[in-house]
Amino acid sequence: MEHVVIIGNGISGVTLARHIRKLSNKKITIISAETEYFFSRTALMYVYMGHMTFEHTKPYEDWFWKKNRIELKQAYVTSVNTASKTLHFSEGNTITYDKLVIATGSKPNKFGWPGQDLDGVQGLYSKQDLDRLEQNAPNNEVCKRAVVVGGGLIGIELVEMLNSRNIPVTFLVRESSFWNSVLPEGESEMINRHIKSHGIDLRLSSNLKEIKSDTNGHVSAVIIEETGEELACDLVGLTAGVTPNIDFLKDSEIETGKGVKVNRFLETNIKDVYAIGDCAEQQETVGNRRPIEAVWYTGRMMGETLAQTLCGNKMPYNPGHWFNSAKFMDIEYQTYGWVFNEKGQPDYEQHFHWKHKDDDKCITIAYRKDNNAFLGINTFGIRMKHDVFDKWLTEHRTLDYVISHLKNANFDPEFYSQYDDQIKAAYSNTLQTA
């Protein structure tokens, strides 16, 4: 029986294993150093905030794995010998494979800041990070102030977490407005205001210069690059993005760049070795998609695709239209298709923007200047239907069509106020003034 060994029990590795099991009788082993069972990384924040217990984050009950004959091994892989098809564990033992899948995810970025390894300085990625946070910031007596460095999706989550325990938070964001490397101006500014309205000390255009230590090697303050200001704090959260977690492959034959290089079939340069999820770097990307996409559903899709290939139905990874979602404190965000910010925008792209007077809902629709073709939509505070936008993108609908059919795409709960009339009115206004 062929032995498929998967390193990493995140969404990509686990999806792969489940689908291989559906399709075949192969022997499957999943290795992970982090936790015994698969859990949802995306729910870590809810454990700290007390919305869920860690137990709740596990999508499958513990008996599931045995029942589906998926072997779990909790151990850390230190090196891979592709010639002898052997993995070496930190405890000195080894395991051999017929097919190897690398699904090791990411790790938080550290940019060589002085003091970045002090006690009380941490990222937010793993179960261990969660435990560490519970130690470092159980309440606002132990942690009188926290500084979160890096204004991305994980940064805002960490801010919300600390805020839930009434810990004063300073949020250092390098960009001139929150996440405006991705979001257009109007949206990004609305989120700035929302963050501040929660009492967060949001510092835009602010870089971390240095983290200072007390006499016990614990963080005592940070210094801001631009102003030289020194802020006393007990916790520094480093959330300035993630990079593939592949250091253990350094000495192997497997070709790596930022991540493990793979072709469209998710194959590496070495036969019988594959990579999926956050750690995979596509050599040939699809559409506007980036070579490394550290999001949940792409990991899942790679797992689904690779299961087909490994079970004898060779298939390229072929993601459809881009979509994603997040939540900025109380404001939900969804995106379908591509909406670029002002800086990253291609020449042909133009935006229609509508914002509700309450300053907590808005949409931005991107379209082509020349033929009005619909390119994508960002929505804040309004839920939309994925399959409707997916269809409209495939059918190359126009901006007018999308605006006049917006109601069909609404996914808000029943009885919610509908905004499509306001949006339509705003749209015809812009047409008149333009």
Binding site: M49, G50, N139, R165, R300, E304, G320, R383, E414
Partner: protein
């Protein structure tokens, strides 16, 4: 699995400790309760109306002030911070104390009402019940009973905690509307209307106490002899009520359930549901999510349905006559019609919906059908003996086991330990019947939003019915479960906008996409091939 980490200490400093205002509000509410407890211990209060008002106002004010402090200063949005750390909502010491107190209250209420001061055999009330006499007099013109006391407290609980829930979900119109609805139905239908109806009673005219929204089989005693007799004795109005009772289960309920799912009843109208959704809301996450619990649920709740059908049939049968010339409905016609209705339902389901029934549901249906038939046959052929048991024994055991112990003592007393819908999930025969229809023949479903699910599990955690919503959502599958009461909380707490409660056409309602939108179409087709 899924047990919150309780904090068993009373003093441990927590990030989610109560604020000063919340402590004061709690104290005010508890003081109001203490007045009632003192009354129960026969402490004599002068000016009963004033003391009672004071007590009830303090209880309500405690809840309202607490809610104001907890929610009003904050942004509208999901308010579950600290739920798993707070003692009362995480099976900590306060949860156990509350559970024990509630359980004790129910036991006394059902079995030792004299302890509350109920006057026996025409004697004057004393103690707690006497404290409620003035209020009862104003409303119905007669003195209070333990059930009046219970009714008042129950209504106040739904109203005050309903207010709290309204603040908590003030951003969510679905949640607000259905909370107004349960508050209204409790106050008007369960409490005021029956009491006013009692005012109409005189020596020559008397209606049984009737909460119109309380439908058989939840209202398992509706067709008992004393009630049916007094309905009939009360002339046209009584007969209309009796007919309404029959129509509500056989006509109104199926139509509304077809259109909206069982939520129209369970989370918009029902009093048990009303209490669960308001006072019980802080405990919704305690429901057991294991697949094992689901198995038990199906066995227990369907057994209760069988029990209530048998019991009611036996009871009605016991007081019907044999002589067709006296009354058209005889023992024999009645039994034959019950058997006919059951057979009809059974045959229709097996013919049209067999494919949708999971294997074990089918076995269950066949098994139960056979049991019912066997019991009928036994009776039918030997004529004198009433089923296997005496009707009276059957009726009493149902009332004791299901009516009192299950729905009251366990169902509500154990809110802080097993969650707020234990009765609705494991015990309620009404829920089981509505659920059966919801699963097979209703436009209601929860639709999922393509590939946006991040498997975080908020939905499953906060599903009070213990449904593993995530298991469906992460596969992009609609949630069509008989137990779903349509509370809408899964959809509310989902941080990615994945879930929507909807009434839509029957076509494509149960879909099982193994693969989600986002991937290219060929792969979807392929994986969905069976």
């Amino acid at each position: 699995m899924n047990t919150p980490k309780p904090s068993m200490s009373l003093t441990k400093p927590e990030a989610f400790d109560l604020s000063i205002k919340q402590k004061i509000s709690t104290a005010i509410g508890l003081l109001g309760l203490i007045i009632l407890i003192l009354a129960a211990f026969n402490v004599h209060f002068p000016y009963k109306p004033v003391v009672l008002t004071l007590s009830l106002v303090m209880i309500s004010a405690g809840v309202i002030l607490f809610a104001n402090d907890l929610y009003l200063g904050k942004h509208a949005g999901i308010k579950n911070d600290g739920v798993m750390f707070k003692s009362v909502s995480s099976r900590g010491i306060w949860a156990w104390l509350t559970g024990i107190a509630l359980t004790a209250f129910y036991i006394i209420l059902y079995f030792k009402a004299t302890w509350l001061g109920l006057g026996q055999n025409g004697a004057e009330n004393t103690g707690l019940v006497a404290l409620f006499d003035p209020l009862s007099n104003i409303i119905s013109g007669s003195k209070a009973s333990q059930w009046f006391v219970y009714g008042v407290l129950y209504t106040i609980a739904i109203l005050a905690f309903g207010y709290k829930f309204l603040l908590k979900y003030r951003h969510n119109r679905y949640e607000r509307l259905r909370t107004y609805s349960v508050m209204f139905f409790q106050l008007a239908f369960a409490f005021l209307i029956p009491e006013f109806m009692a005012r109409l009673n005189s020596d020559s005219f008397s209606l049984p106490y009737y909460d119109l929204k309380n439908i058989w089989p939840l209202n398992y005693y509706n067709f008992e002899q004393y009630r049916v007799n007094s309905f009939i004795d009360a002339g046209d109005i009584g007969l209309a009520l009796l007919i309404f009772g029959i129509v509500s289960i056989f006509v109104i309920t199926p139509i509304l359930t077809y259109k909206y799912g069982k939520r129209w009843y369970c989370s918009w109208v029902c009093g048990c549901g009303g209490l669960a959704e308001t006072s019980g809301d802080p405990f919704r996450h305690l429901s057991d999510k294991r697949q094992f619990a689901w198995k038990i649920e199906r066995w227990v709740v369907h057994s209760v349905v069988v029990f209530v059908v048998l019991m009611t049939t036996a009871v009605v049968h016991s007081y019907l006559g044999d002589d067709q010339t006296k009354y058209w409905l005889t023992k024999q016609t009645f039994l034959i019609s019950v058997a006919a209705i059951l057979t009809l339902v059974f045959v229709l389901v097996m013919v049209f919906k067999r494919a949708q029934l999971a294997k074990d549901a089918k076995y269950g249906a066949i098994g139960y059908f056979v049991i019912i038939m066997v019991l009928f046959a036994m009776h039918y052929f030997n004529g004198t003996q009433l089923f296997l048991f005496k009707t009276e024994t059957l009726r009493q055991s149902y009332g004791f086991l299901i009516g009192s112990i299950f729905s009251g003592v366990i169902g509500t007393g154990f809110y802080p330990i097993f969650g707020n819908r234990v009765w609705c999930r494991f015990g309620c025969p009404m829920a089981a019947i509505l659920g059966f229809q919801q699963r097979l023949f209703s436009r209601f479903r929860i639709t999922t939003n393509g590939g946006q699910c991040i498997s975080c599990g908020n939905c499953s955690t906060y599903c009070e019915m213990g449904i593993d919503v995530r298991a469906y959502a992460q596969k992009g599958e609609n949630i069509v479960r008989s137990s779903c009461v349509g509370c809408g909380i899964c959809s509310a707490v989902c941080p990615r906008g994945v879930l929507k409660l909807e009434n839509d056409s029957l076509k494509g309602r149960i879909d099982s996409n193994e693969i989600l939108l986002g991937n290219d179409v060929d792969l979807m087709d392929l994986v969905n091939q069976k």
